[in-house]
Amino acid sequence: MAVLLLALAMAAPAFAQVTVEKPAIPLTAEQEAHLAELLPDLRCLVCQNESLAESRAPLALDLKYEVRGLVASGKSSPEIKQYLVDRYGDFVLFRPPFDPRTWLLWLGPFALVLLALLVLMRQIRSSRRDAAAAAPKPVDDAALKKLLDE
């Protein structure tokens, strides 16, 4: 175990990623609100289930800075999303677009429910037919009255 840990420590690269100090991008209150609304919809590519709003990964911080710059230059949400999709693909969006490639994704669940309803309706209909076919026994009034009185 100790040997393994030592080997791991020796194998780990001694170098670290460089972070460049970037100039702060001032935003108006309105733009800050726009940014805050936009970031939760964008996915961090490194830590896939976090949004850019939550993530502290270096790439997420870079992308957040990038988006901040786009917001400052007055770009709309669809324009900014397109900018990221052009580079990283639809995966960067938490809400995938509705197009032929995603029809199964968006419509699949509804199709399944519809299918289940059809099967259920058929079952009910056939069981009703069975029930109708099996004629009900004539009720013995005297026996029923006796049963109820007890």
Binding site: F15, A16, V20, L45, D62, G89, V119
Partner: protein, 177 residues
């Protein structure tokens, strides 16, 4: 007949799982494939075999011949893994290898090259990661094949292996001209 529907459902589920669970969720398809490579113009870090290195290189300087763009960094573990193979590729000389040193310190890069050798024709520096964003890089190492016409033909995420190069890159080397 009674079991036909459940069996069909089971079969469909199994088919989805056998395909879906084998996929690596970290491998994302690049939207850049088939599109012109993102424009870049980056300062040169190391330019062997020339005394007067140009200060910056961009797409125009590499046009007309297919080339590989390899995003790497001295701090990246996968880059250590692929480095020996990049040296082999450089020796074979089948394709120009452009290295883009991603968010890396100059001193670290020099130490890295001194220890392992330099497989790159030029090394360009992407200190703040802006070029990486334009290429949709989300984890170094990533390797792009750019055709002679300047289009992105293929992207490989993770350490480049001989198998991946032979399978995915080699057949495309003649394309895009």
């Amino acid at each position: 007949m009674r079991y036909a529907i459940p069996l069909v459902v089971l079969g469909v589920l199994l088919a989805f799982f056998t395909v879906g669970l084998k996929r690596d969720p970290r491998l994302l398809p690049s939207p850049l494939i088939g599109k012109p490579a993102p424009a870049f113009s980056l300062p040169v870090a190391a330019f062997p075999n020339t005394d007067a290195a140009p200060l910056k290189l961009g797409n125009a300087e590499f046009a007309g011949k297919p080339y590989l763009v390899n995003f790497f960094a001295s701090w990246c573990a996968g880059c250590q893994v692929e480095h020996p193979y990049l040296m082999t590729l450089a020796k074979q000389g089948a394709v120009t290898l452009v290295g883009i040193d991603y968010k890396d310190a100059d001193a670290d890069l020099r130490q890295w090259l001194a220890a392992r050798g330099n497989p790159y024709a030029p090394i360009l520096v992407d200190l703040d990661g802006r070029a990486g964003i334009d290429f949709g890089v989300y984890g170094v190492p990533e390797t792009f094949l750019i055709g002679a016409d300047g289009r992105v033909l293929h992207k490989h995420v993770g350490a480049l292996t001989p198998e991946a190069f032979e399978r995915d890159f080699k057949p495309l080397l003649g394309a895009g001209s």
